[in-house]
């Protein structure tokens, strides 16, 4: 939502684009609630005008493969490299001539024309938390240590920026995070997902339940068991009696704001639309099967439902145990069996299902999908870069060159951007930094990546420090 503290976004040509400061000004006018809401909508529009380019409103599903997916075992295979580098897997042909990916991603191979691969992602941060922060916020971390923590001066998450610059107009939150309760087996505090500098109001609605469970529900969005719909209705009508006697509800914009949130909150708790958004049982069992019956696949399906319901950005964090504590991408040991038996088949299935599902529902053109980790993995099996626990069957962290995929939002599928060297030790062509990637995502969402926002202290800061969108993604 737009801040009462006024201007949070600015562009290079600054002053003229300050329209949306006017919500603050509204306070001064003492207008009533309907005007306030209308003005908020106008202010949001102006905020978008300040930050956004043109085109239809886009949404985003960010599929975050915590731990770091191995580029050599997925998108950027090197069959001619020595065995210790190329590993155990073989490439297969895809639906696009000249693009070959891992044999354990057959469904994705059939859909290679739908997504673009960037094989030249690069940075220098070797630990999960700071690298994740970098990848997700576009801000280079000051320290490369794992106990990075969440800091109030962290750069805002992509979704928090969306909440500021492109808030949802429907009765749903703008930014939702779906993740396991603990990210990683050590429960690392994952920066880059929270609002940081923008302040708590731009934090995501964090859903840590497992939507694969039948009893899945979002506590904040569901009523205590003893309160059924009828009782809630009775409570609301009693509440209405009290509100009727409180003239400030109409006379004070600040009071009116909380009231407007109440309306949205009641909508969220009661409206079939919002309830349905979180209700996976409304999906056909076959489709749920198609995604796969595990937490991440079902979160991905839930993400699609949320986008459909109007959420702007959903982050799905594949970052914790499925059945075992190490069922995520941080393959320091048993790199090949772990990927072959679990990670890759599950990933192949749910990611391809998502692409199909979005396509079939006509959502793909307006939805950006990004699947990425915070870094890749070492070219050489057994090589140690960050974690001494890496053994001769594992791959350690490798930020210098790795691969990600993007689809939707008008991105031309079936292309490969950038090139790595013969072992993926480094890029040879078209390096893409986390700054560039974040600029790319803003660009795809119609948010001007040159915009400037203000932190809680009022300091002007650039959305992206030094990055440019990878425009070839949309090129022909």
């Amino acid at each position: 939502m737009i801040s009462f503290r006024g201007n949070r976004v600015r562009l290079c040509d600054g002053a003229r684009r300050r329209e949306f400061l006017r919500v603050g000004a509204l306070g001064a006018l003492g207008v009533g609630l309907p005007q306030l809401l209308a003005a908020e909508a106008r202010a949001a529009e102006a905020a978008r005008a300040a930050g956004q380019a043109t085109g239809r409103r886009k949404s985003c599903i960010l599929f975050f493969l915590f731990g770091g997916q191995s580029q050599l075992d997925t998108w950027d295979m090197k069959p001619d490299a020595p065995e210790l580098i190329r590993g155990e897997f073989r490439p297969i042909a895809t639906s696009v001539d000249g693009i070959r990916i891992c044999e354990h991603l057959p469904e994705l191979a059939r859909r290679a024309h739908r997504y673009a691969i960037i094989r030249s992602m690069t940075h220098h941060v070797k630990n999960h938390a700071p690298a994740g922060y970098y990848a997700l916020s576009g801000m280079a971390p000051r320290r490369d240590v794992n106990n990075f923590g969440l800091n109030p001066d962290d750069y805002p998450a992509l979704g928090s920026v969306c909440s500021l610059m492109s808030p949802s107009t429907r009765p749903v939150p703008s930014y939702v995070q779906l993740s396991p309760a603990l990210v990683g087996d050590t429960g690392i505090q994952m920066p880059g997902l929270h609002a940081g500098l923008l302040g708590a109001r731009y934090d995501p609605l964090k859903v840590t339940g497992d939507p694969n469970e039948d009893r899945f529900q979002v506590a904040e969005l569901s009523l205590p068991t003893e309160v059924d719909d009828r009782r809630l209705a009775a409570r609301r009508s009693l509440l209405g009696l009290v509100e009727q006697e409180f003239p400030l509800l109409r006379e004070s914009p600040r009071v009116g704001r909380l009231e407007s949130f109440y309306q949205r909150a009641f909508d969220l708790v009661t409206s079939p639309e919002a309830r349905r958004a979180f209700d996976l049982s409304a999906e056909k069992p076959a489709l749920r099967e198609r995604y796969g019956r595990n937490i991440y696949a079902q979160q991905l399906l839930l993400a699609r439902r949320l986008i459909e319901a109007g959420v702007r950005l959903v982050t799905v964090v594949w970052g914790g145990p499925i059945n075992q504590p190490d069922d995520y991408w941080d393959t320091h040991q048993g790199n090949f069996p772990k990927q072959k038996e679990k990670l890759l088949p599950l990933f192949d299935r749910c990611y391809s299902a998502l692409l199909d599902d979005l396509q079939e529902r006509g959502l793909l053109d307006d939805t950006l999908v990004v699947a990425m980790g915070e870094f890749g993995r070492t070219p050489r099996v057994g090589q140690i870069t960050a974690n001494g626990g890496t053994d001769s069957t594992g791959r350690d962290h490798w930020p210098y060159c790795y691969s990600i995929t993007l689809a939707g939002a008008g991105i031309r599928g079936g292309q490969v951007i950038g090139r790595s060297d013969e072992t993926t030790a480094t890029y040879e062509e078209r390096p893409v930094t986390p700054e560039d990637l974040v600029a790319t995502i803003y660009h795809a969402l119609g948010i001007n990546h040159h915009a400037e926002f203000r932190d809680q202290l009022g300091r002007p800061l650039p959305l992206v420090r030094d990055g440019e969108p990878v425009r070839e993604l949309w090129g022909s």
Binding site: S3, G199, R201, R235, L238, L461, D466
Partner: protein
Amino acid sequence: MLGLLAPAAPACAGTAGQRPAAPARPTAVVQVLPAAVVLEGARAEQGLVVSVRGADGALRDAGAAAAWRITPAGVARVARQWGRRVLLPVSDGTAVLEISVPGAAPARVPVQVRSAAHAPPVSYFHEVVPALTRAGCNQGICHGTPTGKGGLRLSLQGYAPEDDYTSLAREGGGRRVNTSDPGRSLLLLKATASMPHGGGRRLGPEMPELEILSRWIAEGARLDPPATPRLERLELLPPPRRLELPAARQQVVAMAHYSGGAVRDVTSLTRFSTSDEDLASISREGLVRGTRRGDVAVLARYQDTLESLRLTLWKEVPGFRWPGLPEHNLVDRHVFARLREMRIAPSPPAGDAELLRRASLDTLGLLPTPEETRAFLADPAPDKRQRLAARLVERPEFAEYWALKWADVLRIQDETLTPRGARTYHAWLREALSAGRPFDQLVRELLTASGSTYQVPPANYFRALSTPEELSEATAQLFMGVRMSCARCHNHPFERWTQDEYYALAAYFGQVRREGRGRGEESVYLDPRGEVRHLRTGAVMRPRLPGAGEQRLSPDTDRRRILAEWLTRPDNPFFARAVVNRVWAHLLGRGIVEPVDDFRTSNPPSNQPLLDALAADFAAGGFDLRRLVRLILQSQTYQLSSRPVPLNADDEVYFSRAYPQRLPAEPLADAISQVLGLPAEYDGYPRGTRAVQLAGTGGRNAFLKTFGRPDRNLNCECEREKDPTLFQALRLITDRDIAARLRAPEGRVARLAAAEPAAALDELYLAALCRLPTPRERTGFLAYLREAPDRRAALEDAAWALLNSKEFQFRH
């Protein structure tokens, strides 16, 4: 840094020998600034601020309607240049410029032209760097970032011009400035978008910046010779004034004063902005256009100087009448004077119940009990409000609530201080407030503490903040109301604080050291050899107090003591103002300066005399917090209704009514507990502990977090979220803990379920809203309660409705 420049003496109509105008002559007279024009060198120019002083004595900008006539011809000429009308030199000599405006007596300005034949070379410092700033090249989102853009890195708004010279003239393989073929300089090609440029077209032939840069390159792109005069100050014309809406136009002229006495119009090299674009905007050429009533500062940046000019946008309100409200004390004197001036009427006084609830919540963080409410409403004494204020500040909960406020910004949290350290520190703070320790003394104890963080509680100040930089930033923000953090890396972009001043202040904390003593205990001590180095120059910084000279202190002096004593002197320009502003903001919902810790000339207070008077009274009264709170509570201003009236509906800065505030997290949680008659549980604290009493962040609690309890990682009140959010609404609607306490057999609802419904309802209303239900509410609620099959469940629903009402969640 707080003072404004003295105005130049204006040139007025007529001359000394003339008689006053005859009655038939116009009473309005033209006033021109500057009063005399000196054009030095062929490249000089001079714009004017032309005003008319009307019969009412007020000055109004008349630049657009003014005619300029210069005699004799041949000395200077009137021309339009860079978008404004200026006087340009022709040949050496003197002349008179007559400025006339229809209906007003004209003014005559003496003009002197010198060295008209000599065009001095372009000055890198005085012209090129300001041109880069004005064109926006070196702003934070363009090349003025630490990483630069597209390979070109400039210092933010030119604070390090020598470094910028290297970037422009030495780096980039000599392509950025091409002195043999200036037109092929990348600097020009990019800025004019003749070549692709991420920042688009920044310059064109209509802008003076392009000419400055082109000329400078053509002249060899040289640094200034060593003897070049320095900029001493920037003067803005006219002096502060009031602009009348709807016209509300004002030309501003920026005059640079250099060492050696030269003065030059640098308006076309100055970057202008206003502190609030909603109130007034300013063009590149310095023309202000006001749109809304209020106070605004015009900011002018030239070289590394930022100057500001305060303007009040004002309009006459037809039919404005001042209601006869009695003034209680100095607060009302100043608030009402400002309201009268701005043609804003105060709301009528609040009702007794409303005031009792407001004052209890503001001072104690607690709702009045039904018994207190009944007693107050029944009290017939005319001075009961004044006695209420006196009573509230003496309650023990007063110290607990104000300790919470200060604990936030002192960053009392378990993670950095350990739970034991946090509790020790918090207890010290609470006891100091409870004992009524004078605030200056409390701050001196804080700033000079040494020893164990477990044995000497205020020593935790130096644990919560670990470096000299953090300590000086926090100290400035907390007790001076100044946000200095920008100046850590570069000169403050919105204020005059320089990077040098930043490190000179940090030097007072340069000797502070800490060492572990095991079990989480640490000891704070001083290392006489400790020094602070300037980030950019690496120089060891001598301590220097703001606005004073360097101090040479012997190594065994505790520098912190020098700083603390200076800071807490009764005549310190920062301390008392900063503290009273925080207290005022807490009680009135908005600071006189807002944000409360962001005092800047570019962020004008909404009522300077009020701020000054409160600060003086606070200092004179021995920095007594209770006395200050009582003074404000007893003012008519504090006791006004929160309901707007037509003549104040658009005011949110002059305190014409009470501004409603959402209850902060802890008082809200405690108020809910009060209504439910059952406490909430906080991890690690005994049952019955109120949220307001929690020491560190040990009581980390999802409810409190949702309603804005800060993690205490910043020294800023802004860390506490004050605005409503969607998640707050969701939480109160669905909260399981509230649901359980609504149903609990030992709670208030269960107890009242046995009573007659009308009595039960009255009691719930008194507990939650400090009032009885209106007839309409009573009818509606009683119908529901009487028809319900389950009386107790129905009463739970009633209590739920009250807790979810905005009237409950706001202090109003």
